[in-house]
């Protein structure tokens, strides 16, 4: 809505938004602190000895004691937390036991793969889910509504990893419609210079269209799968928001004015339903991170989810906590973003804020 930023009626909207931002920032800071406390405490109750994780179990007692003190394990818990806080804030999540590299570097390396997957998935989920929800609301109680409902229920009830396996079995192994596990075939791996880490973007920018096609063929199955789950959620919420909006009086006003029905649905009602929908879409984007843990395992997708599961299975606690923290932070960030978008989309919120 770029055309309505002027206008005398909304002077003072900006300070209110700034105030809101400050308030939300304080909440976020507090929540983030909470995230750190939780991950810190989880890290302390692990049966894995963090000293042995560093030095291995053959080191002499003297080395053990030295490392024990280096890691600050002799100090009281609150001091250890303070140490942890300082490290995390300076971007130091410790070293991975598995890869022997800094966790921050590891995560930076694997994260683009997850981001790319989740983004394609949310695009699929939104592009299909919103129209389906609108359609179901307009045809409430009729066949279309039932179809959307059943599709949604299947999405809510099927284990995502199982659908992934079936997808691989049918579309890759039997039909050969798509490429198999992984992000890209080895043959193309070196024809793309990794810049953003998002292979679709990188290959397109470098004009490597053959590689682009291969990447697409790899990503389409896991992304559709994740997208299907967001679609289930988005279409259900869209339906309920639209039913609510279509029962409002301004819809009758529009009918009285002689506005055609398609315009009432897609312009008047959907524009109003879009305000809460933004929150829903942001939330399901965040939920995709969760789904990606299982999906990436099934599709051997070298992203954050697979990194997390690998670390889990090898009791690499630093890596587990670092990834958990990052995912938690993204979750909080997306919530924050949806809040801000909400106030941008709804002219009424500016007054209430």
């Amino acid at each position: 809505m770029s055309d309505d930023t002027d206008g005398g009626g909304r002077t003072g909207a900006l300070p209110r938004i700034l105030w809101k931002v400050t308030k939300i920032a304080a909440t976020v800071a507090l929540t983030f602190l909470g995230l750190l406390v939780v991950t810190f405490l989880i890290g302390r109750v692990v049966p894995v000895d963090p000293v042995l994780a560093v030095i291995g179990d053959r080191a002499p007692k003297s080395v053990y004691d030295r490392v024990f003190i280096e890691l600050g394990l002799d100090r009281p818990l609150y001091e250890q937390f303070w140490l942890y806080l300082q490290k995390v804030l300076s971007g130091d999540f410790g070293q991975s036991f598995l890869t022997k590299r800094d966790i921050a570097d590891d995560i930076a390396r694997v994260f683009p793969a997850t981001l790319e997957l989740a983004t394609v998935a949310i695009l699929i989920g939104t592009v299909l889910g919103v129209p389906m929800g609108v359609w179901a609301a307009v045809r409430q109680g009729r066949l279309a509504d039932q179809v959307v409902r059943v599709l949604g229920l299947v999405g809510y009830s099927a284990p995502i990893f199982w659908l992934g396996l079936l997808g691989l079995l049918v579309f890759y192994a039997r039909l050969h419609w798509v490429a198999g596990p992984g992000r890209v075939d080895i043959a193309y791996e070196y024809s793309i210079t990794v810049k953003t880490g998002l292979l679709l973007l990188d290959s397109a920018m470098q004009g490597e269209w053959e590689a682009f096609g291969n990447v697409m063929s790899h990503i389409i199955l896991p992304a559709s799968l994740l997208g299907y789950f967001s679609m289930a959620y988005i279409s259900r919420m869209t339906r309920s928001f639209m039913l609510n909006e279509l029962a409002q009086e301004y819809v009758i006003t529009a009918r009285v004015k002689g506005v055609p029905e398609w315009r009432i649905i897609w312009v008047h009602a959907l524009r109003n339903a879009a305000v809460p929908l933004v929150t829903v879409i942001a939330l399901s984007y965040a939920n995709l991170l969760e789904g990606s843990v299982l999906t990436e395992t099934v599709f051997a997708w070298p992203g954050l989810g697979q990194y997390l599961t690998n670390s889990l299975q090898n009791a690499d606690m630093n890596a587990v906590l670092g990834s958990t923290l990052l995912i938690g932070a993204i979750f909080v960030g997306l919530n924050l973003m949806s809040d801000l978008l909400y106030s941008l989309l709804d002219p009424r919120v500016r007054r209430q804020a």
Partner: protein
Amino acid sequence: MSSLSRRDWLLSDQPASRRQARLGQAYRTWLSFRSNWLAMVGLAIVLALILVALFADVIAPYDPVLGGDLRTERFLPLFSEGHIFGTDDLARDIFSRIVHGSRLTLMVVVLVAVIATPIGLLVGTTSGYFGGWVDTVLMRLTDIFLAFPRLILALAFVAALGPGIENAIIAIAITSWPPYARLARAETLTIRDSDYINAARLQGASSARILWGHVTPLCLSSVVIRVTLDMAGIILTAAGLGFLGLGAQPPQPEWGAMIAAGRRFLIDQWWVATVPGIAIFIVSLGFNLLGDGLRDVLDPKARK
């Protein structure tokens, strides 16, 4: 009493006693629930799950853990003689494993509900009833737990506690209570200042007594609906943990772990991984349908 007159007695507009009114209300709820055939399907699935879990020893033709002859009975396909769902790599009867696995699934659902519901109720009602800084602290805590995606937090907890089905249950319960607390708090806020709570307070009832005797029972129904709606999610999370090797450990016949084990033979012996997936799907579909139906009947506000 003939059935017709009993029905009339239940549906009477002028109930003669509190008992009649209450039974009549329950009967009306049941009638409206029964008219929703999808909800009835859900109820049937859940009842079937309970029955199968109870009588697993009778229903399952083979031992779920001990396999048959490894030379002749490995990877028997679907609908083989004596093995309707075939056998797996260790020549175990998949049908028997599915039947026994229902016990694990039911156990996860029940235990998570039993652990998480009271925590959520306690935190939510306390927070809503006392308000002020108690509310602020408890709700901030709830928000922190809500800030993690559920599966991720459960993974972190399982990593800390060590793999195994008991720890998986604890981890899922720890990550499940925050929404219930939110809900219970919202309900408490609406009834906190009502006259009968004030009356109880004036009679000198202690806060704990008011919370447990008056507030909690009123929050219970909406929280229970919410828990029922969440059960499918709980089953899927438990299966996900099992699939990642962090939940139930082999040779336990947990459905998620069975999919993980069958994954290696997906291309040629596809049924080994497929059948447990269907079981998970049907059971969580059942809980979803049941929860939806319950919500429609008991919570008309959310009907849309």
